[in-house]
């Protein structure tokens, strides 16, 4: 049997952080992507954008020092780093839609082999739909990184030939970071760049519902 050791959430965040470059403007989506902030090499000037009007999001405040007005997209308290800027919502989405952000790191429900992303709506009709800034980021940022578990809780592949959930945007995903692998999406193909320790190619293939290219 394999001695598979899936990437932890922190290791997944580190895999993302290793692909960020000095001087980039980066939006971190709510949920798992927010873990990336702490994994970025502090010597790099990577400026974190929050859709509610912040460039230069800093670390979480120490307890008792929260500014109730100063929150991030996930509604959690944050601080501002040196050099930060505040602006209003419409300008924030100009940055997103207008191609001014280098990278958006988003969560995902499904990604298809041609880079379609589904991350805003499942088939659970009990919940009212909510989209937030997902479509704006997926459409507008120069590079789209997706951080998600490789399979759903009930074991279903989330990387597919075609998404079955409603799309956020078509043909936008550049790289997917899962607990099993780092996968680059180019020209309708999926290239496996890194795999979790102890994982076999056969096992990765069996947990993915789209063809993989091993490099």
């Amino acid at each position: 049997m394999s001695t598979l050791k899936p990437f932890t959430k922190i290791e997944m965040a580190r895999n993302v952080a290793e692909d960020l470059r000095d001087g980039q403007y980066v939006n971190l989506g709510i949920g798992m992507p927010t873990l990336v902030a702490n994994q970025i090499n502090p010597e790099l000037e990577v400026v974190i954008h929050s859709e509610n009007g912040i460039l230069g999001v800093g670390p979480r405040p120490v307890p008792g020092m929260e500014d109730p007005d100063l929150i991030d997209a996930g509604k959690d308290f944050v601080t501002l780093r040196t050099g930060a800027a505040i602006f209003h919502h419409t300008d924030s989405f100009v940055m997103m839609r207008g191609g001014h952000l280098d990278v958006a790191v988003l969560g995902g429900f499904q990604v298809s082999k041609n880079g379609d992303l589904a991350n805003w709506m499942t088939d659970d009709e009990d919940l009212p739909p909510a989209v937030g800034g997902a479509m704006d980021l997926a459409t507008g940022a120069k590079s789209i990184f997706v951080m998600m578990t490789h399979n759903s809780r009930d074991g279903k592949p989330k990387i597919l030939n075609e998404c079955t959930y409603p799309l956020t945007a078509a043909k936008v995903v550049d790289t997917v970071y899962t607990d099993l692998a780092v996968l680059d999406f180019r020209e309708g193909k999926i290239f496996v760049r890194k795999i979790a320790p102890g994982l076999t190619q056969a096992e990765l293939k069996s947990r993915t519902k789209a063809p993989l290219v091993f490099i």
Binding site: N52, D69, T90, V131
Partner: protein, 220 residues
């Protein structure tokens, strides 16, 4: 003489009627004009269409407005937040309508109303469920959808400092929808943490010029 300072929240929301469209600033719990919302709840105004990013959480602010039965329809991007129980309950019962827009389309549509623009084409949402039944156009090789402007009879927002001309500054990320909504309300009402004498705000740091603002109330 220009005097936009109003003595009470109740006076400041006068003119909001049943069936009106009300723009409400704020994102999460940051920048929500809670005092003005409470005044609207007390006036028992009904059938409002509210335009706001979230549908409130817990028991105060937008959640309290929804709970009070004042709202017929919510126009929002992210109505499902931690603790948005009142919206979710009425939504499941089918007694409240939802119009969902991508967040950037929402805020730009509000700005467009304030700017006197008849809408815009955007690639965001094109080819998705949220782009259905919208006019489409290919611009520079990319599919776009048409978004009409979204204005309202009244906008209510919160600010940090205000003066009697309605000039405003905001508090960090509580700025969010304030500047765009201030432009888009036929009547724009502001609750300010503090009202300062005219001339005290540095013209270089005024974020919303008073021309967009009609009424200001200080939070006591």
């Amino acid at each position: 003489m220009i005097q936009k300072i109003f003595p009470s929240f109740k006076d400041a929301i006068a003119g909001l009627n049943d069936g009106d469209t009300l723009l409400i600033g704020g994102f999460g719990n940051s920048g929500i004009p809670n005092h003005l919302i409470n005044a609207i709840i007390e006036e028992k105004i009904r059938d409002l269409v509210i335009v706001t990013n979230n549908a409130g959480s817990g028991e105060s602010g937008v959640a309290a407005l929804i709970k009070s039965g004042a709202v017929r329809k919510v126009v929002a991007s992210y109505p499902r937040s931690k603790g948005s129980v009142w919206f979710e309950e009425l939504y499941r019962k089918g007694t409240i309508e939802l119009e969902l827009l991508p967040q950037g389309n929402l805020t730009e549509a509000i700005r467009a109303a304030g700017a006197g623009i008849g809408g815009f084409f955007t690639p965001v949402g094109a080819g998705t469920l949220l782009g259905k039944n919208r006019e489409e156009r290919v611009i520079n090789g990319k599919l776009h959808i048409f978004q009409e402007p979204i204005g309202g009879e009244m906008s209510i927002i919160s600010a940090k400092l205000a003066d009697r001309w309605g000039n405003l500054t905001y508090s960090t990320s509580a700025r969010n929808f304030g500047p765009s909504m201030a432009m888009a309300g036929k009547i724009t009402v502001v609750e300010a943490k503090k009202i300062v004498p005219l001339g005290e705000l540095d013209p270089e740091v005024i974020i919303t010029p008073g021309v967009f603002v009609d009424r200001v109330v200080e939070i006591a």
